[in-house]
Amino acid sequence: MVTSNSLVYLIALPLLGATILLLAGRRADKWGHLLATLMSASSFAVGLYQLSAMLGRSNEERAISQKLFSWINVASFQVDAGLLLDQLSICFVLLITGVGTLIHVYSISYMAHDENRRRFFAYLNLFVAAMLLLVLGDSYLNLYVGWEGVGLASYLLIGFWNQKPAYATASKKAFVMNRIGDMGLSFAIMIAFATLGTVSFVGVKEASHSASQTALTAIGIMLLVAATGKSAQFPLQAWLGDAMAGPTPVSALIHAATMVTAGVYLIVRSNFIFDAAPTAQLLVVIVGAITLLFGALVGTAKDDIKKALAASTMSQIGYMVLGAGLGPAGYAFAIMHLLTHGFFKAGMFLGAGSVMHGMNDTVDMRKYGALRKFMPITFVTFGLGYLAIIGVPPFAGFYSKDLIIETAFNAGGAKGIILGGAALLGAAITAFYMSRVMILTFTSPQRWDNDVHPHESPILMWLPMAILAIGSVTSGFLFARGDALAQWLQPVFGEHGAEHSEVHLLSPIVVSAMALVAVAIGVAIAVIKYQLSEVAATAPENVSIFTRIARKDLLQDSFNEAVFMRPGQALTRVLVKGDDVVIDGAVRGIGRTALGAGSALRTSQTGFARSYAALILIGAVALIAGIWVVTQ
């Protein structure tokens, strides 16, 4: 493998930015945001350079690596801190640094009135560095370092305005649920080391040929747990809605484009494990399918624009996980959807931020309406993202989503029909609720009061949105044309990728037609319900039971509380009580015993020499009696 010396700069530049901004303190307030954006942009430039270099090399030599230092060197466990840049990683690197830089630019204007703007940019840079480490790590352990780093950055950024207790709680919730996923990754690494003897990607790929089915299934399931935690899949999805407590750029960067896609990266990177463990792969598609529908259903009932977009993210990542679980046929399409999603979802989040900025930071869509006239640029960019997500040709989502639906059907048998059907249903519901968002925000009649003055955002905010909109329009076509992305990624998925069958149960035209019909139905229902009828300014109370359940996130929080939180708190109380009564009681009891024994023994100190002499005599008698008995 070709080694390089410049990979480390990808990570080092944003990390340097974060360090400078955190250490310099208030002195950096005037120029901190500019430095951070510059660092992010430089990292993007290095990434572009690496891409051009990679394009110039032949297929076998495209992957390059750089060893930073020898990290763990213990008998049979050797792990180096090293970086690996192959065709898969470069996609992510460009996505992270590109979208990241755009969001840095957006934040200069969005956070202009916040006095802690410098700290915000430090955390953003920290996040970019950690996420790059995640995708560039050459072993599961190095990936884990980046994994933890993005979890930390997410916690810091969600709780950025932690003066509000609700936001602090939301960041804690996100961190704790991520932690459960992290445990899964730890276990996977431990099992990999115990059964395969190595944790580097290259090593595990080699060893997976001769490993036992149970070991690989166990590793696969643990990796799936990790992915569900980080990517907010069922059953660890409850934190994503609350994570919208962070500033909108954070939601756009972390919880739409990059961090939540880390789980998909993990699954795709571990393709050799999942391909060899069908049980784990089946679980992956099940999780993907369930989450796809879960997110879609929750999104239909949300009046908060950011929470609706969050539910949409959850659902779209469900598509990606579904695609990744379909085996070699689906990996490339999952990545394609991931990249296109990065464009349109980040663009829509930035648009939501723009709307909030113009509407005095209100998030309730029932207070919006007719913003098309007042925010035209936002309307256009958001609209292009909307068309992309619902899958209207020739926009990005059409290509990526339809390919996933097609691959699902092609899996064959009952599995194929169930998965394909679920994906189609998800597409329909997605069309419905995204149209709802569009209508309620931009096209329905005005529902806001006269003290609100909606206005277009400044250029530093709409320029990134526009660039992302261009991506939403063109990226799908560019990735799918002639299987460009699939060919590009094919060396990563190894020999398994080469042997995937070209079975087409349904021709692509049929699948696309079914998808478009589903989309049309969804849009139509939304138009009828919201555009053509009156929309209440406050959420109506007497709604059906389904709406109520959907408003409560399909009871995810109630379930978590009942099954985990309350028993956990009860257990804590029992343990505290036990510690107090049993352990502290034992310690206090020892003290009391010592005191009691001391007081009892003190009575023998009478001060009379004769009683002491009597005691000596009694002792001597005991001694003689002992000798008498022993020599019997």
């Binding site: 005599l617 008698v621 003689i624 008498w628 020599t631």
Partner: protein, 256 residues
């Protein structure tokens, strides 16, 4: 092998019960002086036992050192502390007497039965062989060869003990010794002037100055304060009347 001759047997059976009785007596008598004398008796019997058992040197040392020096030392201290001191029979610490007696009797009983049970593995040898050059010579041979180190250590101990006794008995004055002048002033400053000039010393001058004759007060009556309390308690005061002169010849003879 040792065979004990009849004289020794008789000696033993006479003196052993006596010594035990004397020891019991030492335990039970009230006056401390009597205890000391009974202990001296026990020690002399023990000395006789030592001599009977061919420990000639030790027997003489027992009489000279133990009975002669140590017991006399005890008697001196008793006199210093108070010969009249006698313990009351009631016990102040509850339950001590029964416990002590039980424990000691148990101790004695166990020891005696142990001794009765013990077997040395050989009969009694007797000291005829060891004493063939004489008991003193035999002891000296052991003392200055095998046991010379304990010997030296014990001599150091003796010196230490003597020093210790001197240190303990040393009476350090905390204030200056009162001079004659101060003592005289103090006498005259007392409540009454009765003893300002000091107590009269015993004895009627010119006729008898022994300690058992009381001095005469100015009006001719005997002064009981001039006799020591011990003699008074014993009733050893002599009458002064026998020393009084008869009629004094009051004629004055001219000297030519």
């Amino acid at each position: 092998m040792l065979t004990i001759q009849t004289p020794e047997t008789i000696l033993f059976w006479v003196l052993a019960p006596l010594s035990v009785l004397a020891a019991l007596g030492m335990l039970l008598v009230k006056k401390a002086v009597h205890s000391a004398l009974l202990l001296a008796f026990v020690m002399i019997t023990l000395a006789i036992f030592y001599i009977a058992q061919d420990a000639l040197f030790l027997g003489i040392v027992q009489i000279v050192v133990y009975t002669g020096a140590v017991m006399m030392l005890f008697l001196f201290i008793l006199m210093l502390v108070g010969v009249d001191a006698s313990d009351s029979l009631t016990e102040t610490i509850r339950g001590l007497r029964p416990i002590a007696i039980t424990a000691a009797i148990g101790f004695g009983g166990l020891m005696i039965s142990l001794i009765a049970r013990a077997k040395l593995g050989h009969g009694a040898f007797g000291l005829a062989e060891a004493n063939k050059d004489g008991n003193v010579q035999g002891l000296a041979k052991l003392l200055f060869s095998d046991y010379v180190f304990p010997f030296e250590v014990i001599s150091a101990l003796l010196i230490t003990a003597a020093l210790g006794a001197m240190v303990l008995a040393h009476h350090q004055r905390t204030s200056a010794k009162p001079t004659q002048r101060e003592q005289s002033i103090a006498r005259f400053r007392q409540g009454t002037l009765g003893t300002a000039a000091g107590l009269p010393s015993p004895g009627v001058f010119a006729r008898h100055n022994a300690v058992d004759v009381p001095a005469l007060l100015p009006d001719g009556t005997p002064a009981p304060n001039s006799i020591s309390a011990t003699l008074k308690a014993r009733g050893d005061i002599l009458e002064t009347s026998q020393f009084e002169l008869g009629e004094v010849d009051k004629t004055v003879k001219e000297e030519k």
